[in-house]
Symmetry: C2
Subunit: 425 residues, 2 copies
């Protein structure tokens, strides 16, 4: 089943969508039976399309060409900002097309109106990428937690400010951290929309609509991070806290408390470990109790990947009878035997407390191509003591052979404990 | 639109499903237009149904009564174990009913066969609750990350072992930690299936099917946590690591490396902060880079809440033309003005370094009903120094008034910095 996409806006995210559809088209079709095809693309800047190498795509600088093309099923709006994005979306929905957008401004301010347009036209709008980048928080709220009564949302939903606060916690001043964020593409030349918390406020409005079915508020109380100093971060740390720019929503009965401000949260809370440009959204609900969703809140491919998923969802709706199997194909992957894996290892030996022991063990390891990264003998008031050895990367088969040999040494008094080490990310 | 449920298995999760459908039926209908109705319930134990107070529900001890009831649209299988669960699911799918299950054993071993039964009968099976309790990882893999090529999954998917390892990190022995887990209902009387890693292996099989479209492996290399001592945890900690029972899947080209074993992971990695009975699933993918999903991996209501969501999903499929608005109703919630919020506060005052200063500030705070939780004056080689005060819970309006007054004191030399504190559980 082929579904035609009209792509409006060929900036960073738009190019990412093109890239993912190109590279993963086959995988998507195998998994879902749906072939996404970019039929028409639109941008004010005609040069953008040529750099994307879209030979089979019709290009226009007038978005109405896409709205009026009856062969386009799904419009992806990636212009950003209020206008003409809002008009594009409304026209597309009214013309019977489904819409995917990453536009937090439009959804936070005009979402309710656009949902009514959807209702009237039996069209649909999806906006996963508007909050939290590739974190599937919109779908989770709409579908997985559809029976849930939420009491609170705490969100780190702005990567710029989280990056700056992380660098400040590492000792940088606010201005140095901002500069570094700008150098790495995590902050705009004019960072005010992010650092003043306005971006977070728009995202909070969207989360709150979905979690609490709340109207968009007239205004959200918003404080940015510009008055935070690195000393505040140090003092907070001494008290067991970290400072994060949080988007907070709390519901009690028929009251809703929405705000965005720098917040001190306990260092051992889940959100405290959300660092750098990452986002994290923490939910409290009646049945689910606590949950947290973590991932890249911005960036070309993370964001584009959920835009594409939204388009696939809408494609499924277009042909209602379209059946998608839970797992529609199976790869022939060779399962690697445990003997072949490579890992770093922790060994705990129980050895006699006397000279030459480490040499004997080290020899067995060396004979089996295992290189030692660290050794530490623990004190105990016993004849035998624990000896800890950490290795560099080694092959399981070699480790097994070495440990078998070591377990037979007369200086080794217990079966050796082996724990594998994974240096995740 | 009313959808009839046949509920098979009235144990912990089954009763939770009944509870959620009873309590949240109205919310679900408002959000989705779907009214879930438990039409028939089945359990071997006839007493269970009476304790659930299901007056409008037909009860049977023979699951075939549900399979053969043409008015039942969706069967929820919550028997657990291989048989008769597998047979129930297969019969239901063949009779044209959709199925929801939480059954990790059946899906991990017979998933592929059952998906074929689905394909032939154009029926569907959903199994979100089979991995990670209320964490929406199945939906995320099937829908949000449908275009993603994953390279690795690291999962803490067994609450029992994670709870035990957490308590051991707090100083308990393995046997004391296990006992405490059993007392708190986080471990079975016979914990071997959990502590030996077998439960994690079944869940890893399911995750791997979805992320890598891999066949169920003949066997997964599995090591449990029983040989880990609290000393290993201490030694790991000295090296900057924590020990977690991880379900690991790594793909390189056409090879898949699947295993479950205690693993040392860096203390600052996202998974390291997944404690107690919670689960966390960490994904590495080409476009999304890194993401993590955290929540309750077991328990009556967390698990039942996603079972109900799966049933709602299937209900939507039953009437394909059924239209669900992105947000289908809006609550009239009063937005609480910032002046009314209650919070704990951090103040950073810039004060003269001389006697009596704290007293003056404390008086203003006291006069405005703000109670001090902690005071700390920082050393600086300047005429003025930072004074940090942490408060107990106070009202924003009072804080604003107090800070205004304090800013006017002659001993205060800069505008006071105020940061709110949220003691997120």
């Amino acid at each position: 089943m082929e579904v035609n996409i009209g792509l409006i806006g060929l900036g960073t995210i738009g190019s990412g969508v093109v890239k993912i559809i190109k590279e993963n088209s086959e995988l998507i079709e195998k998994r879902t039976g749906i072939k996404l095809r970019i039929k028409k693309a639109c941008d004010r800047d005609a040069q953008r399309v040529s750099s994307l190498n879209l030979s089979e795509v019709e290009f226009t600088t007038n978005y109405d060409d896409i709205i009026n093309d009856s062969s386009v099923h799904v419009v992806i709006e990636l212009i950003g900002g209020y206008e003409p994005a809002r008009t594009v979306i409304e026209k597309a929905l009214k013309s019977g097309k489904h819409v995917v957008t990453a536009n937090k401004a439009v959804i936070s301010k005009f979402g309710k109106d656009l949902f009514s347009v959807c209702d009237l036209n039996k069209t649909n709008i999806k906006f996963e990428a508007s909050v939290g980048g590739c974190i599937p928080i919109i779908r989770t709220l709409q579908q997985s937690y559809v029976s849930e009564e939420f009491s609170a949302i705490y969100g780190i939903v702005n990567g710029t400010t989280n990056y700056i606060l992380t660098k400040m916690a590492e000792g940088k001043s606010y201005s140095d951290a901002l500069k570094k964020a700008q150098e790495n593409g995590f902050a705009e030349a004019d960072p005010s929309f992010d650092v003043e918390g306005k971006d977070s406020a728009q995202k909070l409005t969207i989360l709150s609509m979905l979690a609490f079915n709340s109207n968009a508020p007239e205004e959200i109380y918003t404080e940015g991070i510009t008055m935070i100093t690195k000393n505040d971060i140090v003092y907070a740390s001494e008290l067991g806290y970290v400072i994060k720019l949080l988007a907070i929503a709390k519901r009690t009965n028929n009251e809703l408390d929405l705000r965005v401000h720098p917040t001190m949260i306990p260092v051992n809370s889940e959100l405290a470990s959300v660092s750098n440009e990452f986002n994290g959204i923490y939910l409290k609900g009646k049945n689910t109790s606590e949950s947290m969703f973590y991932g890249r809140g911005a960036g070309q491919l993370p964001t584009a990947s959920v835009v594409v998923s939204d388009a696939i969802d809408l494609a499924k709706k277009i042909r209602n009878k379209h059946y998608v199997s839970p797992v529609s194909f199976f790869n022939n992957l060779r399962q690697k035997p445990i003997d072949e894996i490579k890992s770093r290892y922790y060994f705990r030996f129980r050895v006699l407390d006397k000279p030459g022991v480490i040499a004997k063990i080290a020899k067995e390891l060396g004979d089996n191509n295992i290189s030692i990264a660290g050794v530490s003998q623990k004190e105990e008031n016993l004849e035998t003591v624990p000896l800890i050895i950490i290795t560099h990367s080694a092959i399981e088969k070699d480790v097994k052979r070495a440990v078998e040999a070591i377990n037979k040494l007369d200086v080794v008094k217990e079966k050796t404990v082996v724990i594998r080490i994974e240096d995740i990310s």
